[in-house]
């Protein structure tokens, strides 16, 4: 067992982990941050996406020890400082970008990473960026729409309500 410490959602977090403990296990089991989901265990589905030092990372593909000293952000740390939903979260709710919701945290985290690097992505760029996030329920249309809306773009063209 090795000691690991990092900043998670702005707060210091530490614990004892094995060398092979994945970041997602550390977040879910040690810190109780269960909003980061495990959908495939093998880095395909994107349900476990978190941000490590601002970059989107699948938390099932990195060891907890690799995040030593890093700034980690999870879905639980995405709300506005006053606790209200941030613009991406709000857009997923308003534009029905979820059904079972299991993919949603990963989708929101990927969307946030995309918008940080490309504030006004085209529909095509969004679809491209989401290649690593599987959603089995929605058919993606409303997810794409939610991200377009969150980036302040007009979505009336995408589909009527």
């Amino acid at each position: 067992m090795t000691k690991v410490s990092m900043t998670v959602n702005g707060e210091a977090a530490e614990g004892e982990v094995e060398g092979r403990t994945l970041l997602v296990e550390f977040l879910r089991e040690e810190l109780g941050l269960t909003g980061t989901h495990v959908g495939c265990d093998t880095s395909q589905c994107g349900a476990c996406v978190v941000h490590v030092d601002g970059k989107d990372v699948k938390a099932c593909t990195i060891f907890a020890l690799e995040a030593e000293g890093a700034e980690v952000r999870t879905i639980e740390g995405m709300a506005n400082p006053d606790g209200s939903l941030n613009v991406i979260q709000q857009a997923f709710q308003d534009h029905h970008g979820l059904q079972c919701g299991f993919c949603t945290p990963g989708m929101v985290m990927s969307a946030a990473a995309l918008l940080a690097e490309n504030p006004k992505p085209s529909e095509h760029e969004i679809r491209d960026y989401l290649e690593g996030n599987i959603c089995r329920c929605t058919g993606y249309h409303n997810i794409v729409k939610a991200i377009m809306a969150a980036s302040g773009q007009d979505v009336s063209r995408i589909a009527a309500e």
Binding site: T36, H37, H96, Q99, G101, F102, R127, E131, R136, G139
Partner: protein, 788 residues
């Protein structure tokens, strides 16, 4: 009005901030143990020797259980009692659970399970339709046959006979949340189970049997699933029973979640089918007789296969009147996972069969497939139909009218004798072909294909007619429990489960509507077998129809009691009491709902009620294939366009235009989501989602790395979804229609559009099997060219 509003999913706010809990997210007591199955690596044979020593010695292992350690019933089958939780030594498929590891952590259990040393005596597995037929390996004594008329005679006299065969692959559910369960032992031997299940009552039943307890000693709770699609109707039984048995043995809480590879390897999928057809028709493509032979690959245990295969037969007609028809269905027992419910429950496979026939016939007679489809439609329902293509003109003599009426009546009868009273596809098709610009685009596609050698385009229209109700008539019942508290807040419970389809929100909208309350006043609570007993699975698209009605009845009961009490107080009639905008009005008096609730409580009026609903007017004899299995039909229509690279076989869906019938929608936003998601899931099934078993019967596609589910870039960018604005003719909850399963079958249009594109490459008929992977498309292109 809360009904008919496009409100977000009930837990949307909790999903976007990560606080919505799935089974694996529920905080567990210290000392909770974790389970993993040790599974067979061969697909057929016997276990000759087992050494579990290394498993027991592995780090963190608390116990290892085999069939001999099970205290009571060793069975997790939903119907036939043919599915042991742990093998008795006989192996029926590669992946079958042989023993159960109980360990301190999930990973320790998984690692330990791999360490067993097992020797087998292998037998040759039955893996194909031919092998199963040769061995007469099947469920039920022989094939089921439904139909009418003398098909052989009709085929013999038909001007043209078109025959062929289509292979239709299975489909992995890939609910994003894998199977999971958690059992918490209670005092006196009672057990509480949290399960990711569409069927809490069945979990309760199976757990009770496994523990030797009456059902009242087991309570099952389901707050939500991360997707179900039918895959959590029976396939979660094994996990829940394993957890309960291990919890009883150790006295500690036990949790199990399948790792994704285990989930693929252990659980059943959509039934693969082979369908052979011989269709007699005229030169215009009018069907005169069809002979279908459906071969359903059921896997090793019966599970729900009989009902699945029945529904495939009941959808072998889809939207078409076939004068003389015979449908023969073989339910084959093979050494695969036990195939199970999957959105559409056999209906999609049956429908692919007839859509393939029409595509083939249209190609044969050289007509636009959309026109051939319309030519064969059931007769349109009379009132309210948009187009009346078959009505007699005013000048017709009376005997002509009655002859036509009789003819129309005949054109409404399904192969199983139910009259299609609500057929609206004539009108829907006309509208959709117009709004999608079908005819113009058909000409453009032809032009494009004439000019382009490499990229060929394809366009296809397909309709959906899907029967709503469980075909096992007794399942069409539902219960609800509603409480109004003295502060005017309302708690709502019913037997339906939430898997993302938006059921909880729709039903809450119904409840809020009765009381005239805002949504915030209604609390949706987890499905709980201690609150509403003896429920049916949330399946067959029936969730809102059944539970919405049961909840409305319970709410109306309470509202009625409140109205009677307040009316008496004010010398008014109960019927004059109004519930609206959070107020209760009695004549000139007006109470807030909370004041009214409190007054009723003080006046000793019960503010709690159960509701119970059973679907009327249905009856079904599944052996004879006769009756009225469906309360009504739900309809849909779609035009899809694809582009195919003829050098590689790769393709894209360019555009989809959908017109769907949800009756008077309870929530148009939720229904739209079902339509979009259903279409994409259906298209995935028939295009990229390929399950591959090797010759030894091992599933080789057991993760998303090898099993290709549609990604964001695979969905069509132009995606027009509209609803047919007409209420359900049947008396359903607010005249809405079920919308869970039907849209999946809109995906069939993609397979037909691919067929259209391939047909542009040469004179032959593409005869595409499903899934039409790029490899298969490329092979079909070669075939049609070779036919030159």
């Amino acid at each position: 009005m809360t009904v008919a509003k496009p409100l977000p999913h009930d837990a949307a706010a909790r999903h976007v901030d990560g606080s919505a809990r799935y089974v694996d997210d529920i905080p567990v007591p210290a000392g909770t143990l974790h389970l993993c199955f040790g599974c067979a690596r061969i697909s057929r044979g016997r276990v000759t020797a087992v050494d579990l020593g290394p498993v027991r010695a592995a780090e963190g292992v608390i116990a290892v259980l085999t069939a001999d350690d099970l205290p009571f019933d060793n069975d997790v089958a939903p119907v036939a009692h043919d599915e042991p939780l742990l093998s008795d030594g006989t192996v029926h498929y590669a992946g079958q659970p042989l023993f159960l590891v109980v360990a301190e952590s999930h990973l320790q259990a998984r690692r330990a399970a791999r360490r067993a040393e097992i020797s087998y005596e292998e037998e040759t597995p039955i893996l194909t339709v031919e092998q199963a037929l040769a061995a007469d390996s099947r469920f039920e004594e022989g094939p089921r046959v439904y139909g009418r008329g003398d098909v052989e005679a009709a085929l013999a006299t038909a001007p043209l006979v078109t025959e062929g065969e289509i292979e239709i692959g299975g489909q992995e559910h890939f609910y994003l949340e894998g199977q999971a369960a958690l059992a918490l032992p209670q005092e006196g031997g009672d057990m509480i189970v949290h399960a990711s299940s569409q069927h809490p009552t069945e979990i309760q039943h199976k757990v009770a049997d496994a523990l030797g307890l009456p059902m009242h000693a087991v309570r099952v709770e389901v707050r939500r699933m991360g997707g179900g699609f039918g895959g959590k109707e029976s396939q979660g039984n094994a996990l829940a029973v394993a957890c309960a048995v291990a919890a009883r043995a150790t006295g500690r809480p036990c949790k199990m979640r399948y790792d994704r590879d285990d989930d693929f390897t252990i659980t059943g999928k959509r039934h693969p089918f082979v369908i052979r057809y011989r269709a007699g028709h005229d030169a215009e493509g009018r069907l005169l007789a069809v002979d279908f032979r459906q071969f359903a690959v059921c896997g090793w245990s019966q599970d729900l296969s009989l009902a699945v295969a029945d529904r495939a037969m009941l959808h072998a007609d889809n939207a078409y009147w076939i004068p003389t028809v015979r449908i023969e269905s073989h339910r084959l027992k093979t050494n695969h996972q036990s195939h199970t419910a999957f959105r559409g429950f056999g209906g999609p496979q049956g429908m692919v069969g007839i859509e393939r026939v029409l595509d083939h016939v249209a190609h044969r007679v050289g007509r636009d497939p959309a026109e051939v489809r319309r030519l064969n439609y059931y007769a349109e329902a009379e009132e309210g139909a948009l187009s009346a293509p078959l009505g007699g003109s005013a000048a017709s003599p009376p005997e002509d009218i009655s002859a036509k009426k009789k003819d129309l009546q005949e054109r409404r009868v399904t192969p199983y004798g139910q009259v299609v009273e609500d057929f609206i596809l004539g009108g829907m098709t006309e509208r959709l072909l117009e709004t999608s610009g079908y005819h113009v685009r058909r000409a453009r596609v032809a032009e494009w294909n004439a000019r382009n050698e490499v990229i060929k385009r394809g366009l296809a229209f397909t309709p959906v007619k899907f029967g709503i109700s469980f075909t096992l008539t007794h399942l069409n019942q539902a219960g609800a429990l509603v409480h109004v508290y003295q502060d005017g807040s309302v708690a709502l419970n019913h037997g339906g489960t939430e898997m993302g389809q938006g059921l909880f929100q729709k039903v809450a909208q119904v409840a809020a509507q009765v009381f005239g309350l805002p949504m915030a006043a209604v609390r949706i609570t987890a499905t709980d077998t201690a609150k509403v007993p003896n429920t049916s699975a949330t399946a067959a698209s029936s969730g809102s129809d059944l539970n919405g009605m049961a909840v409305r009845l319970a709410c109306e009961e309470i509202a009625g009691r409140m109205a009677a009490f307040l009316a008496e107080r004010h010398q008014a009639k109960p019927t004059e009491v109004r519930f609206r905008e959070s107020r209760v009005e009695v004549g000139a008096e007006s109470y807030s709902f909370a004041e009214a609730a409190k007054a009723c409580w003080m006046g000793r009026v019960s503010l709690s009620a159960t509701g119970y609903y059973r679907t009327p007017d249905i009856s079904w004899d599944r052996i004879r294939g006769e009756g009225r299995p469906f309360f009504y039909f739900a309809y849909g229509a779609v035009v899809s366009e694809v582009a195919v690279d003829t050098l590689t076989g790769e393709y894209r869906i360019l555009r989809a235009d959908i017109l769907h019938d949800a009756g008077s929608s309870l929530n148009p936003a939720i229904d739209r989501g079902q339509v979009e998601g259903g279409y994409v899931q259906g298209a995935g099934w028939l295009t990229t989602e390929e399950l591959v078993w090797d010759d030894a019967g091992r599933l080789r596609t057991h993760a998303p790395s090898t099993y290709k589910i549609p990604a964001a870039s695979d969905a069509p960018e132009v995606f027009e979804v509209n609803f047919w604005q007409a209420e359900n003719r049947a008396e359903t909850i607010h005249r809405s229609k079920a919308v869970g399963e039907p849209p999946l079958m809109l995906g069939i249009s993609v397979l037909m559009a691919l067929s259209d594109a391939v047909a542009a490459c040469g004179p032959g008929y593409p005869a595409l099997d499903a899934p039409a992977t790029p490899e298969r498309v490329l092979a079909a292109i070669r075939r049609v060219r070779g036919a030159a």
